[in-house]
Amino acid sequence: MFPYLPHTEEEIAEMLTTIGVSSIDELFSDIPEAMRLKGSINIPQGISEYEVFRHLHELSEKNITDKVSFLGCGSYDHIVPSTVKHIMGRSEFYTSYTPYQAEISQGILQSIFEYQSLICELTSMDVSNASLYDGHTAASEAAVMALNMVRKSDTILFSETIHPATKQVLKTYFLGTDIKLKEIGQSDGTTSLKYLKENLTPQVAGVIVQSPNFFGYIEDYTGFADAIHDNKSLFVISSNPISLGVLKSQGEWGADIAIGDTQPLGLPQYFGGPTVGYIAAREKCLRKMPGRISGQTVDTDGDRAFVLTLQAREQHIKRERATSNICSNQALAALANAVYLSTVGKEGFQEVSRQNLQKAHYLFERLTGELSLKPLYERPFFNEFSLVLDRKASQVITEMENENILGGVALDRFFSKDFDNVMAVAVTEKRTREELDKYVETLKRILK
Protein backbone atom coordinates (compact mmCIF):
# COMPACT_ATOMS: atom_id res chain seq x y z
CA MET A 1 0.00 0.00 0.00
CA PHE A 2 1.13 3.52 -0.69
CA PRO A 3 0.51 5.26 2.64
CA TYR A 4 0.34 8.87 1.44
CA LEU A 5 1.06 11.16 -1.49
CA PRO A 6 4.69 12.25 -1.12
CA HIS A 7 6.19 15.54 -2.23
CA THR A 8 8.27 15.43 -5.38
CA GLU A 9 12.03 16.09 -5.28
CA GLU A 10 11.37 19.46 -6.97
CA GLU A 11 8.81 20.47 -4.33
CA ILE A 12 11.16 19.53 -1.50
CA ALA A 13 14.02 21.49 -3.07
CA GLU A 14 11.76 24.53 -3.53
CA MET A 15 10.62 24.45 0.11
CA LEU A 16 14.19 24.11 1.39
CA THR A 17 15.29 27.07 -0.73
CA THR A 18 12.39 29.16 0.52
CA ILE A 19 13.24 28.65 4.19
CA GLY A 20 16.97 28.85 3.54
CA VAL A 21 18.27 25.44 4.56
CA SER A 22 20.36 23.16 2.38
CA SER A 23 18.95 19.76 3.36
CA ILE A 24 16.22 18.10 5.39
CA ASP A 25 18.88 16.81 7.79
CA GLU A 26 19.76 20.40 8.61
CA LEU A 27 16.25 20.82 10.07
CA PHE A 28 17.21 18.34 12.77
CA SER A 29 20.53 19.98 13.64
CA ASP A 30 19.24 20.79 17.14
CA ILE A 31 19.16 17.07 17.97
CA PRO A 32 22.60 15.86 19.12
CA GLU A 33 24.30 13.64 16.56
CA ALA A 34 24.52 10.71 18.98
CA MET A 35 20.77 10.64 19.46
CA ARG A 36 19.83 10.61 15.80
CA LEU A 37 18.62 7.47 14.10
CA LYS A 38 21.18 5.94 11.76
CA GLY A 39 19.95 3.80 8.92
CA SER A 40 16.34 2.81 8.48
CA ILE A 41 13.68 1.99 11.06
CA ASN A 42 13.34 -1.69 11.84
CA ILE A 43 9.83 -2.32 10.57
CA PRO A 44 8.67 -4.82 7.97
CA GLN A 45 8.29 -3.91 4.30
CA GLY A 46 4.87 -2.72 3.21
CA ILE A 47 2.29 -5.27 2.10
CA SER A 48 -0.68 -5.08 -0.23
CA GLU A 49 -4.12 -3.87 0.82
CA TYR A 50 -5.49 -7.39 0.56
CA GLU A 51 -2.71 -8.79 2.74
CA VAL A 52 -3.30 -6.09 5.36
CA PHE A 53 -7.00 -6.88 5.36
CA ARG A 54 -6.35 -10.59 5.73
CA HIS A 55 -3.89 -10.01 8.57
CA LEU A 56 -6.36 -7.83 10.49
CA HIS A 57 -9.09 -10.39 9.92
CA GLU A 58 -6.88 -13.10 11.40
CA LEU A 59 -6.25 -10.91 14.43
CA SER A 60 -9.96 -10.24 14.86
CA GLU A 61 -10.63 -13.99 14.81
CA LYS A 62 -8.70 -14.19 18.07
CA ASN A 63 -11.27 -11.99 19.80
CA ILE A 64 -13.34 -13.80 22.37
CA THR A 65 -16.94 -12.70 22.03
CA ASP A 66 -18.98 -15.58 23.42
CA LYS A 67 -18.11 -15.33 27.12
CA VAL A 68 -20.73 -14.06 29.53
CA SER A 69 -19.39 -11.21 31.64
CA PHE A 70 -19.93 -10.60 35.34
CA LEU A 71 -17.03 -8.14 35.48
CA GLY A 72 -17.52 -4.82 37.22
CA CYS A 73 -15.31 -2.67 39.44
CA GLY A 74 -16.03 0.44 37.41
CA SER A 75 -16.72 -0.93 33.92
CA TYR A 76 -19.87 -2.92 33.14
CA ASP A 77 -21.47 -5.00 30.40
CA HIS A 78 -24.76 -3.22 29.75
CA ILE A 79 -27.17 -3.32 26.83
CA VAL A 80 -26.38 -0.58 24.31
CA PRO A 81 -29.40 0.30 22.14
CA SER A 82 -28.52 0.41 18.43
CA THR A 83 -29.57 4.08 18.22
CA VAL A 84 -26.36 4.92 20.08
CA LYS A 85 -24.07 3.40 17.46
CA HIS A 86 -26.02 4.83 14.55
CA ILE A 87 -26.11 8.40 15.80
CA MET A 88 -22.50 8.31 17.03
CA GLY A 89 -21.48 6.93 13.64
CA ARG A 90 -22.84 9.89 11.69
CA SER A 91 -19.84 11.64 10.18
CA GLU A 92 -21.01 15.05 11.46
CA PHE A 93 -20.24 13.75 14.94
CA TYR A 94 -17.83 10.91 14.32
CA THR A 95 -15.12 12.71 12.41
CA SER A 96 -15.33 16.18 13.91
CA TYR A 97 -12.93 17.23 16.60
CA THR A 98 -13.94 19.31 19.61
CA PRO A 99 -15.48 22.54 18.35
CA TYR A 100 -12.89 25.30 18.57
CA GLN A 101 -14.92 27.58 16.33
CA ALA A 102 -17.67 26.50 18.59
CA GLU A 103 -20.73 28.36 17.43
CA ILE A 104 -20.43 27.21 13.85
CA SER A 105 -21.07 23.66 15.09
CA GLN A 106 -24.59 24.13 16.43
CA GLY A 107 -25.35 20.39 16.32
CA ILE A 108 -22.41 19.49 18.53
CA LEU A 109 -23.16 22.31 20.95
CA GLN A 110 -26.76 21.15 21.17
CA SER A 111 -25.68 17.56 21.83
CA ILE A 112 -23.40 18.78 24.62
CA PHE A 113 -26.25 20.90 26.01
CA GLU A 114 -28.53 17.86 26.04
CA TYR A 115 -25.84 15.78 27.77
CA GLN A 116 -25.38 18.48 30.44
CA SER A 117 -29.14 18.75 31.01
CA LEU A 118 -29.47 14.98 31.45
CA ILE A 119 -26.55 14.83 33.89
CA CYS A 120 -28.08 17.63 35.95
CA GLU A 121 -31.37 15.72 36.09
CA LEU A 122 -29.69 12.48 37.16
CA THR A 123 -27.60 14.11 39.89
CA SER A 124 -30.10 16.81 41.02
CA MET A 125 -27.44 19.44 40.46
CA ASP A 126 -27.64 22.95 38.98
CA VAL A 127 -24.87 22.79 36.42
CA SER A 128 -22.82 20.20 34.53
CA ASN A 129 -19.80 20.77 32.36
CA ALA A 130 -19.44 19.35 28.86
CA SER A 131 -17.72 16.19 30.24
CA LEU A 132 -14.27 15.07 31.35
CA TYR A 133 -12.03 12.15 30.41
CA ASP A 134 -13.20 9.61 32.99
CA GLY A 135 -14.54 9.25 36.50
CA HIS A 136 -11.11 9.39 38.09
CA THR A 137 -10.23 12.65 36.33
CA ALA A 138 -13.60 13.98 37.48
CA ALA A 139 -12.70 13.18 41.10
CA SER A 140 -9.38 14.95 40.73
CA GLU A 141 -10.95 17.99 39.10
CA ALA A 142 -13.55 18.10 41.89
CA ALA A 143 -10.64 18.16 44.36
CA VAL A 144 -9.08 21.06 42.45
CA MET A 145 -12.41 22.92 42.55
CA ALA A 146 -12.69 22.44 46.30
CA LEU A 147 -9.14 23.63 46.86
CA ASN A 148 -9.85 26.74 44.78
CA MET A 149 -13.13 27.44 46.54
CA VAL A 150 -12.17 26.93 50.16
CA ARG A 151 -9.74 29.59 51.29
CA LYS A 152 -6.57 28.61 53.09
CA SER A 153 -7.23 24.92 52.50
CA ASP A 154 -4.61 22.35 51.50
CA THR A 155 -6.14 18.95 52.25
CA ILE A 156 -8.44 16.58 50.40
CA LEU A 157 -10.04 13.70 52.27
CA PHE A 158 -11.10 10.61 50.38
CA SER A 159 -12.75 7.45 51.61
CA GLU A 160 -10.99 4.10 51.74
CA THR A 161 -13.97 2.71 49.79
CA ILE A 162 -13.53 4.74 46.57
CA HIS A 163 -12.12 3.08 43.46
CA PRO A 164 -8.37 2.37 43.86
CA ALA A 165 -7.75 3.88 40.41
CA THR A 166 -9.36 7.12 41.60
CA LYS A 167 -6.87 7.21 44.46
CA GLN A 168 -4.00 6.68 42.03
CA VAL A 169 -5.17 9.47 39.70
CA LEU A 170 -5.63 11.82 42.68
CA LYS A 171 -2.06 11.10 43.75
CA THR A 172 -0.76 11.70 40.24
CA TYR A 173 -2.72 14.96 39.91
CA PHE A 174 -1.24 16.44 43.07
CA LEU A 175 2.27 15.01 42.73
CA GLY A 176 4.83 17.68 43.48
CA THR A 177 2.34 20.10 45.07
CA ASP A 178 1.86 20.95 48.75
CA ILE A 179 -1.64 19.48 48.68
CA LYS A 180 -2.24 16.75 51.23
CA LEU A 181 -4.38 13.71 50.38
CA LYS A 182 -5.71 11.82 53.34
CA GLU A 183 -7.63 8.56 53.41
CA ILE A 184 -10.58 8.15 55.80
CA GLY A 185 -10.98 4.61 57.00
CA GLN A 186 -14.09 2.53 56.50
CA SER A 187 -16.07 0.49 58.96
CA ASP A 188 -18.13 -2.53 57.90
CA GLY A 189 -17.58 -1.83 54.22
CA THR A 190 -18.69 1.80 54.05
CA THR A 191 -17.22 5.22 54.87
CA SER A 192 -17.26 5.91 58.58
CA LEU A 193 -18.86 9.19 59.69
CA LYS A 194 -16.91 8.93 62.93
CA TYR A 195 -13.54 8.77 61.14
CA LEU A 196 -14.65 11.53 58.80
CA LYS A 197 -15.46 13.86 61.70
CA GLU A 198 -12.10 13.08 63.33
CA ASN A 199 -10.32 14.21 60.18
CA LEU A 200 -12.33 17.37 59.42
CA THR A 201 -9.73 20.03 60.15
CA PRO A 202 -10.03 23.66 58.96
CA GLN A 203 -7.52 22.86 56.18
CA VAL A 204 -9.88 20.36 54.53
CA ALA A 205 -11.15 21.65 51.17
CA GLY A 206 -13.26 18.70 50.18
CA VAL A 207 -14.32 15.16 51.01
CA ILE A 208 -14.61 12.55 48.24
CA VAL A 209 -16.78 9.47 48.78
CA GLN A 210 -18.30 6.90 46.44
CA SER A 211 -21.68 5.13 46.51
CA PRO A 212 -22.22 2.42 45.48
CA ASN A 213 -18.64 2.10 46.62
CA PHE A 214 -15.82 0.05 45.13
CA PHE A 215 -16.99 -3.12 46.90
CA GLY A 216 -20.51 -2.54 45.59
CA TYR A 217 -22.05 -1.39 48.87
CA ILE A 218 -24.52 1.46 49.13
CA GLU A 219 -23.28 4.10 51.55
CA ASP A 220 -25.55 5.97 53.95
CA TYR A 221 -24.56 9.65 54.05
CA THR A 222 -26.91 10.72 56.81
CA GLY A 223 -25.10 13.46 58.73
CA PHE A 224 -22.25 13.78 56.21
CA ALA A 225 -23.37 16.99 54.48
CA ASP A 226 -23.93 18.84 57.77
CA ALA A 227 -20.59 17.78 59.23
CA ILE A 228 -18.73 18.72 56.05
CA HIS A 229 -20.53 22.04 55.55
CA ASP A 230 -20.10 23.03 59.22
CA ASN A 231 -16.39 22.69 58.50
CA LYS A 232 -16.80 24.96 55.41
CA SER A 233 -15.61 22.09 53.20
CA LEU A 234 -17.20 20.73 50.03
CA PHE A 235 -18.94 17.37 49.79
CA VAL A 236 -18.13 15.34 46.66
CA ILE A 237 -20.00 12.12 45.86
CA SER A 238 -19.08 9.75 43.05
CA SER A 239 -21.88 7.49 41.80
CA ASN A 240 -22.42 4.93 39.09
CA PRO A 241 -25.05 6.84 37.06
CA ILE A 242 -27.15 3.71 36.48
CA SER A 243 -27.67 3.43 40.24
CA LEU A 244 -29.34 6.86 40.31
CA GLY A 245 -32.48 5.32 38.81
CA VAL A 246 -33.25 3.68 42.18
CA LEU A 247 -30.94 5.35 44.70
CA LYS A 248 -30.72 8.84 46.19
CA SER A 249 -28.83 11.25 43.94
CA GLN A 250 -25.82 13.30 45.00
CA GLY A 251 -27.97 16.43 45.15
CA GLU A 252 -30.45 14.70 47.45
CA TRP A 253 -27.59 13.78 49.82
CA GLY A 254 -26.58 17.45 49.99
CA ALA A 255 -23.40 17.12 47.95
CA ASP A 256 -21.79 20.20 46.40
CA ILE A 257 -20.17 18.33 43.52
CA ALA A 258 -21.42 15.15 41.80
CA ILE A 259 -18.97 13.04 39.86
CA GLY A 260 -18.68 9.63 38.26
CA ASP A 261 -18.04 7.69 35.10
CA THR A 262 -20.72 7.41 32.43
CA GLN A 263 -19.41 4.18 30.87
CA PRO A 264 -22.62 2.36 31.92
CA LEU A 265 -24.71 4.84 29.88
CA GLY A 266 -24.37 3.46 26.37
CA LEU A 267 -20.62 2.96 26.13
CA PRO A 268 -19.11 -0.49 25.53
CA GLN A 269 -16.33 -1.58 27.88
CA TYR A 270 -13.83 -1.52 25.00
CA PHE A 271 -10.41 -2.16 26.59
CA GLY A 272 -11.20 0.07 29.56
CA GLY A 273 -12.00 3.25 27.66
CA PRO A 274 -12.66 5.78 26.34
CA THR A 275 -15.33 6.63 28.84
CA VAL A 276 -16.65 9.95 30.11
CA GLY A 277 -16.20 11.59 33.49
CA TYR A 278 -19.20 13.58 34.52
CA ILE A 279 -18.99 16.51 36.89
CA ALA A 280 -21.97 18.54 38.05
CA ALA A 281 -22.22 21.05 40.86
CA ARG A 282 -24.23 23.62 42.75
CA GLU A 283 -24.44 27.04 41.14
CA LYS A 284 -22.07 28.52 43.73
CA CYS A 285 -19.29 26.32 42.27
CA LEU A 286 -19.97 27.40 38.68
CA ARG A 287 -16.97 29.73 38.28
CA LYS A 288 -14.55 27.09 39.47
CA MET A 289 -15.75 24.29 37.21
CA PRO A 290 -13.22 22.85 34.80
CA GLY A 291 -13.57 22.74 31.03
CA ARG A 292 -16.35 24.06 28.92
CA ILE A 293 -20.09 24.50 29.18
CA SER A 294 -22.57 24.77 26.32
CA GLY A 295 -25.36 27.25 26.96
CA GLN A 296 -28.70 27.98 25.35
CA THR A 297 -29.52 31.44 24.00
CA VAL A 298 -31.35 33.06 21.07
CA ASP A 299 -29.85 34.27 17.80
CA THR A 300 -30.56 37.63 16.10
CA ASP A 301 -33.82 36.21 14.69
CA GLY A 302 -34.95 35.14 18.15
CA ASP A 303 -34.48 31.43 17.37
CA ARG A 304 -32.99 28.96 19.84
CA ALA A 305 -29.21 28.73 19.51
CA PHE A 306 -26.27 27.37 21.49
CA VAL A 307 -23.02 29.02 22.57
CA LEU A 308 -20.00 28.09 24.60
CA THR A 309 -20.55 29.99 27.80
CA LEU A 310 -18.46 31.00 30.82
CA GLN A 311 -15.41 30.89 28.60
CA ALA A 312 -13.52 33.18 30.95
CA ARG A 313 -12.83 30.00 32.90
CA GLU A 314 -10.90 28.57 30.01
CA GLN A 315 -7.21 28.96 29.51
CA HIS A 316 -7.32 31.19 26.47
CA ILE A 317 -8.75 33.93 28.69
CA LYS A 318 -7.51 33.07 32.15
CA ARG A 319 -4.18 31.83 30.86
CA GLU A 320 -1.77 31.35 33.78
CA ARG A 321 -4.63 32.18 36.15
CA ALA A 322 -6.73 29.25 34.91
CA THR A 323 -7.75 26.85 37.66
CA SER A 324 -7.75 23.72 35.46
CA ASN A 325 -5.85 22.29 32.51
CA ILE A 326 -8.98 20.83 30.99
CA CYS A 327 -9.87 22.63 27.78
CA SER A 328 -11.67 19.98 25.80
CA ASN A 329 -14.25 17.30 26.49
CA GLN A 330 -15.29 13.77 25.50
CA ALA A 331 -17.84 15.00 22.97
CA LEU A 332 -18.42 11.78 21.03
CA ALA A 333 -18.68 9.54 24.09
CA ALA A 334 -20.84 12.13 25.87
CA LEU A 335 -23.08 12.11 22.81
CA ALA A 336 -23.44 8.35 23.29
CA ASN A 337 -24.54 9.01 26.87
CA ALA A 338 -27.12 11.56 25.73
CA VAL A 339 -28.47 9.24 23.02
CA TYR A 340 -28.57 6.33 25.45
CA LEU A 341 -30.53 8.28 28.06
CA SER A 342 -32.89 9.72 25.45
CA THR A 343 -33.50 6.25 24.01
CA VAL A 344 -34.32 4.49 27.26
CA GLY A 345 -36.27 7.50 28.58
CA LYS A 346 -37.15 8.25 32.17
CA GLU A 347 -39.17 5.10 32.83
CA GLY A 348 -36.82 2.89 30.86
CA PHE A 349 -33.90 4.22 32.85
CA GLN A 350 -35.61 3.38 36.14
CA GLU A 351 -36.43 -0.06 34.73
CA VAL A 352 -32.76 -0.66 33.79
CA SER A 353 -31.69 0.44 37.26
CA ARG A 354 -34.28 -1.81 38.94
CA GLN A 355 -33.29 -4.81 36.83
CA ASN A 356 -29.63 -4.35 37.80
CA LEU A 357 -30.63 -4.33 41.44
CA GLN A 358 -32.98 -7.32 41.18
CA LYS A 359 -30.79 -9.57 39.04
CA ALA A 360 -27.74 -8.93 41.22
CA HIS A 361 -29.80 -9.80 44.28
CA TYR A 362 -31.16 -12.98 42.67
CA LEU A 363 -27.61 -14.20 42.04
CA PHE A 364 -26.44 -13.08 45.47
CA GLU A 365 -29.29 -14.90 47.23
CA ARG A 366 -28.56 -18.14 45.39
CA LEU A 367 -24.80 -17.96 45.95
CA THR A 368 -25.05 -17.14 49.65
CA GLY A 369 -27.97 -19.56 50.09
CA GLU A 370 -27.33 -22.74 48.10
CA LEU A 371 -23.55 -22.36 47.96
CA SER A 372 -23.26 -20.86 51.47
CA LEU A 373 -20.77 -18.29 50.19
CA LYS A 374 -19.98 -15.42 52.57
CA PRO A 375 -20.27 -11.80 51.48
CA LEU A 376 -17.30 -9.55 52.30
CA TYR A 377 -19.70 -7.44 54.40
CA GLU A 378 -23.38 -7.80 55.22
CA ARG A 379 -24.41 -4.57 53.57
CA PRO A 380 -27.02 -3.35 51.07
CA PHE A 381 -25.61 -3.31 47.54
CA PHE A 382 -26.72 -2.20 44.07
CA ASN A 383 -25.53 -4.29 41.10
CA GLU A 384 -22.27 -5.75 42.39
CA PHE A 385 -21.14 -7.50 45.52
CA SER A 386 -17.98 -9.04 46.93
CA LEU A 387 -17.79 -12.67 48.02
CA VAL A 388 -15.20 -14.42 50.16
CA LEU A 389 -14.34 -17.83 48.68
CA ASP A 390 -12.56 -20.71 50.36
CA ARG A 391 -9.66 -20.54 47.94
CA LYS A 392 -7.78 -18.07 45.74
CA ALA A 393 -10.33 -16.06 43.76
CA SER A 394 -8.14 -15.73 40.68
CA GLN A 395 -7.97 -19.55 40.32
CA VAL A 396 -11.73 -19.89 40.57
CA ILE A 397 -12.14 -17.14 37.99
CA THR A 398 -9.79 -18.95 35.57
CA GLU A 399 -11.75 -22.17 35.97
CA MET A 400 -15.01 -20.33 35.31
CA GLU A 401 -13.50 -18.72 32.26
CA ASN A 402 -12.83 -22.19 30.84
CA GLU A 403 -16.59 -22.64 30.95
CA ASN A 404 -17.17 -19.37 29.10
CA ILE A 405 -18.07 -17.32 32.15
CA LEU A 406 -16.11 -14.23 33.16
CA GLY A 407 -17.11 -14.77 36.76
CA GLY A 408 -15.79 -11.67 38.47
CA VAL A 409 -12.77 -9.60 39.40
CA ALA A 410 -10.22 -10.95 41.89
CA LEU A 411 -9.72 -8.11 44.35
CA ASP A 412 -6.14 -9.09 45.21
CA ARG A 413 -5.09 -7.21 42.10
CA PHE A 414 -6.12 -3.99 43.85
CA PHE A 415 -5.32 -4.77 47.46
CA SER A 416 -3.05 -6.80 49.70
CA LYS A 417 -2.99 -10.55 50.29
CA ASP A 418 -5.96 -10.25 52.66
CA PHE A 419 -8.07 -10.07 49.52
CA ASP A 420 -6.67 -13.22 47.88
CA ASN A 421 -10.00 -15.03 48.24
CA VAL A 422 -12.29 -12.09 47.50
CA MET A 423 -14.15 -11.89 44.20
CA ALA A 424 -16.27 -8.93 43.06
CA VAL A 425 -19.27 -9.94 40.95
CA ALA A 426 -21.34 -7.51 38.86
CA VAL A 427 -24.76 -8.28 37.37
CA THR A 428 -26.41 -5.98 34.84
CA GLU A 429 -29.81 -5.94 33.13
CA LYS A 430 -28.14 -7.73 30.21
CA ARG A 431 -27.81 -11.05 32.10
CA THR A 432 -30.59 -13.53 31.52
CA ARG A 433 -32.12 -15.92 34.02
CA GLU A 434 -30.37 -18.80 32.18
CA GLU A 435 -26.99 -17.09 32.47
CA LEU A 436 -27.48 -16.46 36.17
CA ASP A 437 -28.52 -20.06 36.78
CA LYS A 438 -25.56 -21.33 34.75
CA TYR A 439 -23.27 -19.15 36.88
CA VAL A 440 -24.59 -20.78 40.04
CA GLU A 441 -24.28 -24.33 38.63
CA THR A 442 -20.78 -23.69 37.30
CA LEU A 443 -19.47 -22.17 40.49
CA LYS A 444 -21.10 -24.93 42.53
CA ARG A 445 -19.25 -27.52 40.46
CA ILE A 446 -15.91 -25.72 40.69
CA LEU A 447 -16.06 -25.15 44.45
CA LYS A 448 -17.24 -28.68 45.22
Binding site: R151, R287, Q311, A312, I317, R319, R321
Partner: protein, 130 residues
Protein backbone atom coordinates in the same frame (compact mmCIF):
# COMPACT_ATOMS: atom_id res chain seq x y z
CA UNK B 1 -10.69 58.96 30.30
CA UNK B 2 -12.07 59.93 33.67
CA UNK B 3 -9.59 60.38 36.55
CA UNK B 4 -11.29 62.16 39.48
CA UNK B 5 -9.15 64.68 41.39
CA UNK B 6 -10.25 63.61 44.87
CA UNK B 7 -8.92 60.03 44.65
CA UNK B 8 -5.52 58.36 44.94
CA UNK B 9 -4.24 55.76 42.46
CA UNK B 10 -1.99 52.69 42.39
CA UNK B 11 0.30 51.61 39.56
CA UNK B 12 -1.84 48.47 39.23
CA UNK B 13 -4.82 50.67 38.32
CA UNK B 14 -6.83 50.66 41.51
CA UNK B 15 -8.39 53.83 42.90
CA UNK B 16 -8.72 54.49 46.61
CA UNK B 17 -10.99 56.87 48.52
CA UNK B 18 -10.18 57.39 52.19
CA UNK B 19 -13.02 58.02 54.65
CA UNK B 20 -11.75 58.30 58.22
CA UNK B 21 -9.89 55.05 58.88
CA UNK B 22 -11.55 53.16 55.99
CA UNK B 23 -10.59 53.06 52.33
CA UNK B 24 -12.95 52.33 49.43
CA UNK B 25 -11.12 50.53 46.64
CA UNK B 26 -12.09 49.89 43.02
CA UNK B 27 -10.52 49.83 39.58
CA UNK B 28 -10.00 52.89 37.38
CA UNK B 29 -11.82 53.95 34.24
CA UNK B 30 -8.70 53.09 32.25
CA UNK B 31 -8.61 49.60 33.78
CA UNK B 32 -12.27 48.84 33.07
CA UNK B 33 -11.95 50.09 29.50
CA UNK B 34 -8.87 47.93 28.91
CA UNK B 35 -10.65 44.87 30.27
CA UNK B 36 -13.83 45.29 28.24
CA UNK B 37 -17.15 43.82 29.38
CA UNK B 38 -16.71 42.55 32.92
CA UNK B 39 -18.53 39.28 33.58
CA UNK B 40 -17.41 38.28 37.05
CA UNK B 41 -15.70 39.72 40.10
CA UNK B 42 -14.15 37.35 42.59
CA UNK B 43 -14.01 39.36 45.78
CA UNK B 44 -12.14 38.95 49.06
CA UNK B 45 -14.04 37.95 52.18
CA UNK B 46 -14.90 40.31 55.03
CA UNK B 47 -12.46 39.89 57.89
CA UNK B 48 -9.52 38.84 55.72
CA UNK B 49 -6.29 40.75 56.35
CA UNK B 50 -3.94 41.80 53.60
CA UNK B 51 -0.65 43.63 53.19
CA UNK B 52 -0.15 46.39 50.66
CA UNK B 53 0.22 44.90 47.17
CA UNK B 54 -1.45 41.58 48.02
CA UNK B 55 -3.76 40.01 45.51
CA UNK B 56 -7.26 40.06 46.99
CA UNK B 57 -9.43 38.87 44.09
CA UNK B 58 -9.87 38.60 40.34
CA UNK B 59 -11.84 40.44 37.69
CA UNK B 60 -12.92 38.45 34.66
CA UNK B 61 -13.94 40.12 31.44
CA UNK B 62 -14.84 38.62 28.09
CA UNK B 63 -11.20 38.84 27.09
CA UNK B 64 -9.06 38.64 30.22
CA UNK B 65 -8.81 37.76 33.88
CA UNK B 66 -6.87 40.23 36.02
CA UNK B 67 -5.90 40.21 39.64
CA UNK B 68 -7.15 42.90 42.02
CA UNK B 69 -4.47 44.18 44.42
CA UNK B 70 -4.95 46.19 47.57
CA UNK B 71 -3.01 49.49 47.48
CA UNK B 72 -2.92 49.63 51.31
CA UNK B 73 -2.60 47.15 54.17
CA UNK B 74 -5.49 46.35 56.46
CA UNK B 75 -8.56 44.25 57.15
CA UNK B 76 -11.42 43.93 54.68
CA UNK B 77 -14.55 45.23 56.42
CA UNK B 78 -17.01 45.06 53.52
CA UNK B 79 -17.29 43.93 49.91
CA UNK B 80 -19.66 45.36 47.30
CA UNK B 81 -22.22 42.56 47.05
CA UNK B 82 -24.05 44.32 44.19
CA UNK B 83 -21.18 43.19 41.96
CA UNK B 84 -22.07 39.52 42.48
CA UNK B 85 -25.09 39.83 40.23
CA UNK B 86 -24.14 43.01 38.36
CA UNK B 87 -20.42 43.03 37.60
CA UNK B 88 -21.18 45.40 34.71
CA UNK B 89 -21.61 48.20 37.28
CA UNK B 90 -17.82 48.55 37.09
CA UNK B 91 -18.03 49.25 33.35
CA UNK B 92 -20.90 51.70 33.87
CA UNK B 93 -19.33 53.76 36.65
CA UNK B 94 -15.99 52.46 37.92
CA UNK B 95 -15.64 55.12 40.60
CA UNK B 96 -19.05 54.43 42.12
CA UNK B 97 -18.70 50.64 41.92
CA UNK B 98 -16.14 50.11 44.67
CA UNK B 99 -15.05 46.48 45.10
CA UNK B 100 -14.16 46.37 48.78
CA UNK B 101 -13.64 48.55 51.85
CA UNK B 102 -10.51 48.05 53.91
CA UNK B 103 -9.72 49.29 57.41
CA UNK B 104 -6.36 50.99 56.95
CA UNK B 105 -3.67 49.72 59.28
CA UNK B 106 -0.88 52.11 58.19
CA UNK B 107 -2.10 55.49 56.93
CA UNK B 108 1.40 56.47 55.78
CA UNK B 109 0.96 54.05 52.85
CA UNK B 110 -1.55 56.50 51.35
CA UNK B 111 1.27 58.96 50.73
CA UNK B 112 3.02 56.50 48.41
CA UNK B 113 0.03 56.44 46.02
CA UNK B 114 -0.34 58.64 42.97
CA UNK B 115 -2.40 61.82 42.63
CA UNK B 116 -4.82 62.18 39.72
CA UNK B 117 -2.23 64.15 37.73
CA UNK B 118 0.51 61.63 38.40
CA UNK B 119 -1.78 58.74 37.46
CA UNK B 120 -2.79 60.50 34.26
CA UNK B 121 0.87 60.81 33.29
CA UNK B 122 1.47 57.17 34.28
CA UNK B 123 -1.37 55.96 32.05
CA UNK B 124 -0.24 58.10 29.11
CA UNK B 125 3.21 56.58 29.41
CA UNK B 126 1.78 53.06 29.63
CA UNK B 127 -0.33 53.66 26.51
CA UNK B 128 2.76 54.79 24.60
CA UNK B 129 4.65 51.68 25.50
CA UNK B 130 1.91 49.42 24.08
Amino acid sequence: MNIPENLKYSDTHEWIRVENSNAYIGITDYAQESLGDIVYVEMPESGEEFSKGDEVGTIESVKAASPIYTPVSGKVVQVNEDLEDKPELINQDPYKAYIFIIEISDSSEIDDLMSAADYNAFVEKEKESH
